[in-house]
């Protein structure tokens, strides 16, 4: 293992911070293009049926309208879209079919945004309407077992038999609501053609995916398409290849000039993906001393009519605790909705809610401290595959967070802790997230003045990715972070895996350090061979780059400038990182738009997960039942932490989102019409400052020699996981009332 401790761990401010707060950072729709026309989507107002006619005369009469795209004039100009699971998905302008409310059915292009919007308002659509099915309980939905993507659903031993025989049994049903990412930057797209070449400016968390998917749908060579996305104003899983962009590209071709399209917030609820509602059933069997003997976890998830997309969080819940008998199953429920997709910790956020609530309920049945219940079931071996965890510091997280939180002040009886009229509850839960890895490539160059330039098609989704790459480069080459220029967000640069599954920090750092090591090797080699170097004859492998010097083992050194000049005016290295376990073709495959990720749970050598523990205090008013969360303490152990400053924010943001998903967030629906109701940020509630007075994060040190060469586990998603259960558990402790349906609102506690 590379000595990661010497490389990382220094809190570093974002290198792009000033640009962001001064507005200099260019987001996709800020990119200047020459003489753009403006697009505006027309979306359906019914959830199921067909379009029998468009009446466009009034729209075309608006001054400045250039073109109106519908299925009738462009429907067959694009290949069908591919869903987030690689399978079929809801269409947009391909045909007259309406799959869901708010589906894109036309694109109006005009000289100005205002004209496009005005004309879009005047498009009249005649529908043949059919009765839609909104969600689980609606007549007409279709429930079928899901198709497991990689491996079969986790199963071991005889779970049903063990449950029947268990000394202590617990069983319950849980549900989680529809939620939307709502990144502040909307789902914009700007397309500009230059002869056969197309440039797409669009927020993307997979540059090479956007390039390839647009090319495939336009049926052109991927070489002709370039995707640019230097900054992304929040993605959370919602900004990958999508069904929309091609229509903007086709519009740009038709009008012969660039087209810029910025949709509205309410459109963003239906033209992009979301977290679908789930229902879950859990059975836990345990011995009298709390050891689990049986875990049965089944889930139901809503999806669209054509798509089989599902998140299947049992992959993670089955691996949380030592348990000899496990059975899991997942079902998809097809409704008249748009296709859901990844949203921060897609599987774990809903499924760990059920498991961690059930564990808390079991602890009460057993009259055991919930922390102790986790302790007796802790394990260093993946209970499903029998592989060792690459590292697992779950109980260290529980113990450190419990100490800081003051868990020992908890009176175990529900409903007895009070402060005047306010009932107080303490709750805790486990957080976990698989440590995934992806292929990556990078080009790093260094000049004698000690300046490095790094290029890879990485993704600044707000996580501090530019800074992470700069730190990795600077620390490897003995430079200051300010000496590194990072280029990302452009598919003309070497590819890296989709910024999803929390893999990008580990994948990017590993490939950058690899390229830097190669640079260092070449510089060192030249020095030890050079007649004029004080390092002549030294062992090249023992030389290091430190503080602008090439340093020998016994202190002899040479300025970096001289050592670099010897190799020319500019020295450059290209490196690829292919995690062990992925095929050698992984980078080439990714370049064709087929990303292969090494899942933390899919490995042959170890099970790789990060772990954490949340502790929450809630206060519930004894009469009116408002729920407030005065404080949160969360601890995480996630291997090497590259930049503790960014990591703290990332963990904290995750915890706050978890709280939000427990108490506030639900996309509400009009059942009869299968249309969303609160499709705006005034009515879709997320926490404001007054809702999160105190969130403390503990980063538990963890050295992981097996997860990857640098020991980095991803931290982008784990913060949200389990928080919803910790809040629900605290609400139970405060009130004696168990809420198994999120979000928890005052009316559920009356």
């Amino acid at each position: 293992m590379r000595d990661a401790e010497n490389l990382f761990g220094i809190p570093t401010s974002r290198i792009d911070g000033v640009d962001k707060v001064t507005g200099a950072a260019r987001y996709a729709s800020d990119e200047p293009v020459v003489n753009p026309a403006y697009g505006y989507f027309v979306t359906s107002t019914i959830a199921r049926g067909r379009i029998s006619a468009f009446k466009l005369d009034r729209a075309k009469a608006v001054r400045g309208v250039l073109d109106i795209l519908t299925y009738q004039n462009v429907g067959n100009e694009a290949a069908p879209p591919v869903g987030p699971d690689g399978g079929p998905t809801t269409t947009t302008l391909e045909s007259d079919r309406i799959w869901h409310d708010g589906q894109i059915i036309a694109v109006v292009v005009a000289e100005t945004y205002e004209a496009a919007r005005e004309a879009a308002n005047r498009v009249e659509v005649v529908y043949v309407e059919e009765k839609p099915s909104a969600s689980f309980d609606s007549p007409g939905v279709e429930s079928v077992p899901h198709k497991p993507q990689k491996s079969p659903d986790p199963k071991k031993g005889d779970a049903a038999g063990a449950f029947a025989a268990a000394a202590v049994k617990f069983e319950a049903r849980y549900s989680t609501p529809t939620q939307h990412h709502n990144p502040i930057e909307l789902f914009t797209a700007t397309c500009a053609w230059d002869g056969p070449k197309l440039t797409v400016y669009e927020p993307s968390q997979f540059m090479w995916g956007t390039k390839n998917s647009v090319a495939a749908r336009l049926r052109v060579n991927p070489e002709q398409v370039r995707a640019v996305s230097r900054y992304i104003g929040g993605a959370f899983g919602s900004k990958g290849p999508n069904p929309r962009t091609v229509w903007v590209a086709i519009a740009a071709k038709r009008v012969g000039r660039p087209v810029k399209l910025v949709p509205t917030r309410d459109q963003s609820f239906t033209i992009a993906t979301y977290r679908a509602e789930t229902r879950q059933h859990i059975k836990l069997g345990a011995s009298a001393d709390g050891k689990l003997t049986s875990l049965i976890h089944e889930g139901w998830e809503v999806t669209s009519r054509p798509s089989g997309y599902n998140v299947s969080g049992v992959e993670s819940t089955a691996r949380m605790y030592a348990c000899p008998n496990i059975a899991t199953a997942v079902n998809v429920v097809h409704a008249d909705r748009n296709t859901p997709g990844y949203m921060r910790a897609p599987p774990e956020t809903p499924y760990m809610f059920a498991l961690e609530s059930a564990m808390d309920e079991l602890a009460y049945e057993l009259k055991m401290d919930p922390v102790e219940l986790r302790r007796v079931n802790d394990t260093q071996t993946d209970p499903v595959d029998g592989l060792p965890f690459s590292s697992r510091s779950l109980m260290q997280c529980f113990d450190q967070a419990a100490a800081k939180f003051g868990w020992r002040h908890r009176d175990a009886r529900p409903g007895v802790m009070r402060d005047g009229e306010w009932l107080i509850g303490f709750g805790c839960a486990t957080a976990c997230y698989p440590s995934n890895l992806g292929p990556a490539a990078v080009r790093v160059s260094l000049t004698p003045d000690g300046k490095a330039t790094v290029g890879l098609a990485g993704h600044e989704i707000g996580t501090g990715a530019y800074t992470l790459v700069a730190i990795s480069t600077a620390r490897s080459l003995g430079l200051h972070v300010d000496d590194v220029t990072v280029h990302m967000g452009d598919s003309d640069l070497p590819p890296i895996m989709v910024a999803g599954g929390s893999n990008n920090a580990a994948s990017a750092a590993n490939v950058v350090v690899k390229a830097c090591d190669e640079l260092k090797q070449r510089i060192a080699k030249a020095a030890v061979d050079a007649a004029d170097s004080p390092l002549r004859g030294a062992d090249a492998d023992k030389l290091t780059l430190t503080d602008g010097k090439l340093l020998g083992p016994s202190g002899e050194s040479e300025p970096l400038a001289r050592a670099v000049s010897r190799t020319g005016h500019r020295i450059e290295a290209y490196a690829e990182y292919i995690p062990e376990g992925l095929p050698p073709s992984a980078v080439a495959d990714m370049s064709k738009g087929n990303p292969l990720m090494l899942g933390g749970a899919g490995r042959k050598d170890v099970a790789a997960f990060a772990f954490g523990a949340h502790f929450v205090e809630v206060r519930v008013h004894s009469r009116t039942r408002e729920i407030r969360v005065p404080r949160v303490v969360s601890a995480f152990a996630a291997g090497t932490i590259v930049n503790p400053k960014a990591a703290y924010s990332q963990f904290m943001g995750g915890a706050i989102w978890g709280l939000s998903s427990a108490l506030l967030e639900e996309t509400e629906m009009d059942e009869g019409s299968a249309r969303y109701i609160n499709d705006n940020l005034a009515d879709y509630l997320i926490p404001v400052n007054a809702d999160v007075p105190s969130v403390e994060i503990i980063m538990v040190p963890e050295k992981d020699e097996r997860v990857n060469p640098l020991g980095i586990k991803g931290i982008g998603e784990i913060g949200i996981v389990g928080m919803n259960a910790a809040v629900a558990n605290a609400v139970f402790h405060a009130t004696g009332k168990r809420v198994r349906e999120l979000p928890i609102r005052a009316e559920k506690l009356l």
């Binding site: 107002t45 005005e118 308002n121 309410d266 009229e421 008013h621 009469r623 009116t624 039942r625 408002e626 407030r628 108490l663 506030l664 509400e668 629906m669 009009d670 059942e671 009869g672 019409s673 109701i677 609160n678 499709d679 005034a682 009515d683 509630l685 926490p687 404001v688 400052n689 007054a690 809702d691 609102r745 005052a746 009316e747 009356l750």
Partner: protein, 342 residues
């Protein structure tokens, strides 16, 4: 947003003239006055309001935004900003329910923009009203029906509703005003007049698109709040999903005058649950002349909610509303007032 003609009035009388198209109490009149714009511009962007003419009520000078507090009561200029009134030391001390109703509303930014006059005329937050892609909304399109009755109605009204409309009056300040028996000073084509605040908003009365008794061109210029022994022992309790920047799911404005153990005067305004700003004299009558106890508070709360009707998602509201009233009354009773107060 649709195109419109924008006009600035030199003074209020001219604004009254330019605003003749505001019609009689009609929500979607072809002319609209613009004050802080936090309701109007919002609804124009959503294309719920599509006025042809917008008349800017420019800050018309000191008398119209002044706050005067005298032994007879308070006069609050209609063009005062919400934040100014919420922070006024005299209002805070003598009319805490008013200050709190403003302080707990919206966000700091909105309170700095929004005026008292615009505030009382804010429109319902009913999602079916606020999104014109829903075809059935009697308030927006008279005669089109009500999608909320069988739709998602978690924060819809339970008091004063009928089959034409179950939308809720969302504001907070108006609840304090109605509880304190305020009057509204209006300037119109025929001069000024003073009406009870309770008669400013109309009930559903089969025509939810008519919301006020304002005459064409009439402008709210001030609110008069009479003094009383009860105003100091007053508070605004707002129950909401998140801790700030959110409308009420239930609220109560209460003001009490207590001598010895006996309640001499009680004022109860209710928000987050009614079609229009709501005062419950039934509840007040139960309290007056009796000691205020948990059980008399509960009896008053029960009386206030007697006519409540739920429509599914809002079936929780009567119970929450009763608890809100009880809590507000008991908290008001427990207030420690400095000398001279009752």
């Amino acid at each position: 947003m649709r195109s419109f003609v924008f006009e600035r009035a030199a003074d209020l009388p001219q604004a009254v003239k330019l605003g003749a198209g505001t019609r009689q109490g009609q929500t979607d009149a072809p002319a609209q006055f613009l004050a802080g714009g936090t309701t109007l511009i919002d609804l124009m962007k959503l294309e719920v309001l599509t006025p042809q003419r917008v008349v800017h009520l420019q800050s018309p000078g000191a008398p119209w935004s002044a706050i005067e507090v005298s032994p007879n009561g308070a006069r609050l200029g209609a063009f005062a900003k919400m934040s100014t009134v919420a922070d006024d030391a005299r209002v805070l001390a003598q009319y805490p329910v008013i200050a709190q109703s403003l302080q707990l509303a919206a966000s700091a930014q909105i309170r700095n923009m929004a005026t008292l006059g615009g505030n009382v005329l804010q429109r319902t937050r009913c999602p079916y009203y606020r999104d014109p892609s829903w075809s059935a909304c009697n308030k927006r399109v008279p005669g089109s029906g009500c999608a909320a009755i069988h739709g998602f109605n978690r924060n819809h009204a339970i008091l004063g509703v009928d089959e034409n409309c179950i939308s809720q009056y969302p504001g907070d300040f108006a609840i304090a005003l109605i509880a304190l028996d305020a009057r509204v000073e209006l300037m119109g084509a025929e001069g000024t007049r003073l009406i009870p605040f309770a008669s400013l908003h109309t009930g559903v009365q089969s025509q939810p698109h008519i919301e006020t008794t304002l005459k064409p061109g009439e402008i709210i210029i001030a609110f008069h709040v009479p003094a009383g022994a009860w105003t100091r022992r007053s508070l605004y309790l707002k129950v909401r999903d998140r801790a700030s920047y959110e409308f009420a799911i239930a609220s109560a404005a209460v003001a009490l005058s207590i001598e010895g153990e006996e309640v001499r005067e009680a004022r109860i305004g209710l928000g987050g649950m009614a079609y229009r700003p709501w005062r419950s004299q039934e509840a007040e009558n139960i309290l007056i002349g009796n000691p205020l106890t948990e059980s008399s508070a509960a009896a008053a709360a029960a009386a206030a909610l007697k006519s409540a009707i739920g429509h599914g998602h809002n079936d929780y509201k009567p119970e929450l509303a009763r608890r809100t009233i009880v809590r507000a009354l008991l908290e008001a009773k427990a207030l420690q007032l400095s000398s001279g107060a009752s």
